[in-house]
């Protein structure tokens, strides 16, 4: 290929990239940069110009007990949703991968919550969780137990939100495990059967290690979702009672659109971006290397 043709190719390629590059710049790179910049400025009071304050906003954030509470909630939320929904997803995949009467129906039941909007799911669960007249407490009452204030008791509310999220997500992760299970050569199982390996030890010694890349893939996705999906809070709790169910992204929304404090919103957004950077690093180093050797 001569030099001129090469140049033309380069130019052509650049042109093809242009629309995507412009859009990504406008809605991903530029806002990331301005978010960081905004977190370093304090807007002027009553029309005064904004002042550069270095890391002061971060200091204010670190002194804000609500921020720590929200960050802790988000961590608990991740710890509550991620392993549970992954374990359930694997369990579901194992169940529907075996011969089972009505397997199609069962698989559909597991997967259906995935295609509902979070808002719709939250609406439905609101009826379960309502104290006194909600379904859960009616059932508990029928069994002679005292009702629980599922969303109004700060000790329980985050757990209630977690349960709903797990219900919503497990089926989604199931299909990845299912695909991976079906890719496992049946000869392995046959050989294990000949040797008289128990099902349990076959699972732990053969299946589970073979599923490792899927597990990591699902883990990354679950972690991202634990940060990015806060839609259900708008319906279920609005972050209450007393911030017991507030999560980082919802707190950003509140700061920006309820308190009109864009600076604090930017500062918290930077914290979220840092968390996502850690997850991204995890993906690009560990996950991609492992899948490579698979």
């Amino acid at each position: 290929m001569n030099l001129n043709a090469h140049r033309t190719m380069q130019l052509y390629g650049a042109l093809l990239l242009l629309p995507a590059a412009l859009l990504l710049t406008a809605f991903a790179y530029l806002p990331t940069v301005t978010t960081v910049i905004n977190s370093l400025f304090l807007p002027g009071f009553r029309g005064e110009p904004a002042a550069f304050v270095g890391l002061d906003n971060y200091r204010v954030l670190m002194d804000d007990p609500t921020f720590w509470k929200v960050a802790r909630n988000n961590l608990l939320y991740a710890l509550g949703t991620v392993p549970t929904s992954m374990a359930l997803a694997l369990g579901m995949a194992l169940l529907v991968n075996a011969r089972l009467p009505g397997r199609g129906l069962v698989r559909m039941a597991y997967f259906t919550p995935t295609i509902l909007p979070m808002i719709a799911a939250a609406n439905i669960w609101m009826f379960f969780y309502a104290p006194q007249i909600g379904l859960f407490n009616k059932l508990l009452g029928a069994l002679g137990f005292a009702g629980v204030n599922w969303l109004g008791d700060p000790g329980v509310a985050l757990g209630s939100v977690i349960v709903m999220s797990v219900w919503k997500e497990a089926g989604f992760f199931m299909i990845f495990y299912l695909a991976a299970l079906q890719a496992i050569p049946p000869e392995l199982k046959e050989a294990a059967d000949l040797e008289g390996t128990s099902r349990r030890s076959f699972f732990w010694r053969v299946t589970f290690p073979l599923l490792m890349p899927t597990t990591l893939f699902v883990l990354i996705n679950a972690l991202i979702n634990a940060v990015r999906v806060v839609d259900h809070l708008f319906i279920l709790t609005k972050g209450g009672p007393n911030n017991a169910t507030n999560l980082l992204l919802y707190y950003v929304y509140e700061n920006a659109f309820s308190f009109f404090d864009r600076t604090m919103a930017a500062t918290i957004t930077v914290v979220i971006l840092l968390v996502l950077a850690v997850v991204a690093t995890l993906k690009f180093t560990i996950l991609d290397r492992r899948t490579h050797y698979q």
Partner: protein, 280 residues
């Protein structure tokens, strides 16, 4: 819903012991129950919300109430326009970019590609405040374009299509060139047709995502003119004075119905699309 959704030979499957069959079914019932409950609440008078009586009178009043009380027709229209627009625009923009990454000698290509992949983590709703400002400066507040545009250059789409394009043999491209096709013609006649399954998969995933998306549309829309179903439902469910459960159930079902029906009809394609999109 046949069991043939996945091509599994009977030789491979194992019979489950009884207990596990029971567990599988129990879990399935628990998992589908919330949806069944919403249906129950929606087709009975409000008095039967938590009273399960097989002889309870059936009614469609809740649906007519919900339909009359909120501009769901407009919301539907907006959601359809949004989803169609986003998916088509994504196809165009991502195809061009993926083609460039797959076939053109761009300097610093790997670095650029990594930059694109960042968007897998830094998605528009995390940057709501700044994206809101940018949408505002571009005059996109309260427009359907404003809801969709930040998602058009999708790293995910670019990634998937690039993978697919890379697997297409160069010989096909060369043959087309001998026939005198230019680059865009080659893309249109060789690459795009061969990537059809990828488009289907990505399209279905994208449709589900945008049908269900809430936070960014909430922030960027102001009125019924641009509000999609999810936001309409959110506003409908959180009124000033109090909710009527039966009506909210009906509204909820109304807004999920098209996607749910599509899913039940094309279950196989949906599931395999999600799979194809997720696993390389």
């Amino acid at each position: 819903m046949s069991t043939s959704s996945f091509p599994v030979s009977p030789r491979r499957t194992l019979a489950l012991p009884r207990l596990e069959t029971l567990a599988a079914w129990l879990l399935a019932v628990i998992w589908i129950f919330p949806l069944l409950y919403a249906v129950w609440a929606a087709i009975h008078p409000p008095a039967y919300m938590v009273r399960f009586d097989l002889l309870a009178p059936l009614t469609l009043d809740n649906f007519t109430n919900a339909w009359a009380q909120a501009p769901f027709a407009r919301d539907y229209l907006n959601t359809f326009a949004l989803v169609t627009g986003v998916v088509l625009a994504q196809f165009v923009v991502c195809t061009l970019a993926a083609f460039a990454f797959a076939r053109f000698p761009i300097p610093g290509k790997n670095l650029l590609f990594m930059l694109v992949l960042i968007q897998l983590f830094v998605f528009p709703e995390v940057l709501i405040v700044e994206n809101y400002r940018i949408a505002s400066e571009l005059g996109l507040i309260n427009t359907i374009t404003g809801i969709g545009l930040p998602y058009v250059a999708s790293a995910f789409g670019i990634f998937l299509l690039r993978q697919t394009f890379k697997t297409i043999p160069r010989e096909l491209e060369d043959a087309a060139r001998i026939e005198g096709c230019g680059w865009l013609e080659i893309l249109w006649k060789v690459y795009v047709p061969l990537a059809k399954p990828t488009y289907l998969a990505y399209g279905l995933v994208s449709i589900s995502h945008h049908w269900n998306n809430f936070l960014w549309p909430l922030v960027v829309t102001n009125s019924v003119e641009s509000r999609p179903l999810t936001v309409g439902l959110g506003v409908f469910s959180a009124p000033e004075t109090g909710v009527n459960w039966a009506t909210v159930s009906a509204a909820t079902l109304l807004s999920i119905a098209p996607l749910l029906v599509a899913f039940l009809l094309f279950q196989r394609q949906f599931v395999q699309s999600f799979l194809r999109a997720g696993i390389r």
